[in-house]
Symmetry: C2
Subunit: 188 residues, 2 copies
DNA sequence: TGTACATCAGTGAACGCGCGTTCACTGATGTAC
DNA sequence: TGTACATCAGTGAACGCGCGTTCACTGATGTAC
């Protein structure tokens, strides 16, 4: 059942992409190697031909999920798109689609308990995101813009996490709306 | 090896308290029934005399962790203590002591994947916290105060989660400081 | 109050299951001539 | 280009381990007289 090298490389990429979605949906401990492989159209036996361990895949899946992340919310508008990005982030659609949403919101409180490689991938992705946000913010000092970006990022991630955690859809909507109002307005 | 009823009740309470700390530190899936019982000074066999399942304990542990929660950060000062509460919440000490810190920051992104009972306990605790925060906020309309409380709560939880996630202590401190600056000032 | 018995909180061995991981095998791919 | 062989991506059974859970048992507590 050998497969061409090109196909094998594609299989590997598919596994990483599938894993990045399933980890976000079910958590690192909530999904197994076997199910990930199955969803990628393979059997679990071939897993260790591609990855050293489940943790190794987790680190790659995080990098994959972070690559080009935030582009989905940012790209809506070009300049002065800060408000738009916030609004795109804090939507019921994003809240209800964990598998393809923000990695920090999906796995945030678990990151600290993950192996070094996973935490590092997350940290680098975080830095990149902050840089993107800083570039979207209006003038002022670089220091103030960075502080604003860091606090806004915290607000967005926290709002999405809480809106998902709560078992009352009305309260969930209120969290999103209140946060959109508060963080969507560049406060001078 | 029977034990008096009073002692048995105390044992039960101790298990819940220990579990609330260990779940916050290691995550729901990161700690087992056996280790929880051991840390409470018991053996795992007696667990099902007190609880129906590990999930049942998790729900009770959440309620326990939420009871009187936020009092630790709020009680510092009485009136106008909003800023003080934010400052007390966003400290390196809180960040570095997950076991006894905010439940939402410790387990936030996992809540949505937990059974109904756990989510419900969390939601009720969230409501209580928001009410407390609303009461600390200055005048304005009830609506505006509630929105401010919701967004602030999101900011605090998100900031603590991100400051823990990141593997660079300098960046971690920056997240706390920027968030303290931003959320610690009642913005009009 | 003291005695005899029933209760039941806690113990530790055991069970079953699912998970991460390993391995002998297969058969199509890649390569050497 | 065609043939013969080596390679190796993927398969599926199997392993070992830890986990949640169960259970027969113990012996101190609670209770009835």
């Amino acid at each position: 059942m050998r497969v061409s090298r090109k196909e094998a490389a594609a299989n590997r990429e598919r596994v990483v992409a599938v894993a990045s979605a399933l980890f976000r949906k079910h958590g690192f401990d909530g999904i197994g190697v076997s199910d990930i492989m199955k969803k990628a159209g393979l059997t679990h036996g071939g897993f260790y031909g591609h990855f050293g361990s489940k943790d190794d895949l987790a680190a790659e899946a995080c990098t994959c999920a972070l690559r080009g992340s935030w582009d989905s919310w940012i790209n809506a508008s070009e300049k002065g798109g800060f408000e738009a990005a916030v609004m795109n982030y804090l939507t019921p659609e994003h809240r209800d689609d964990r598998a393809h949403g923000c990695l920090f919101a999906a796995l945030g409180s678990d990151i600290v308990r993950q192996p070094r490689t996973v935490r590092h991938a997350m940290t680098e992705g975080f830095r990149t995101t902050i840089d993107k946000l800083v570039r979207m913010l209006p003038g002022r000092s670089a220091q103030a813009r960075r502080e604003h970006a860091l606090a806004t990022m915290a607000g967005l991630v926290g709002a999405l996490i809480l809106s998902r955690a709560v078992d009352d859809s009305e309260l969930s909507d209120q969290i999103l709306e209140a946060s959109a109002k508060t963080f969507g307005r560049p406060q001078v």
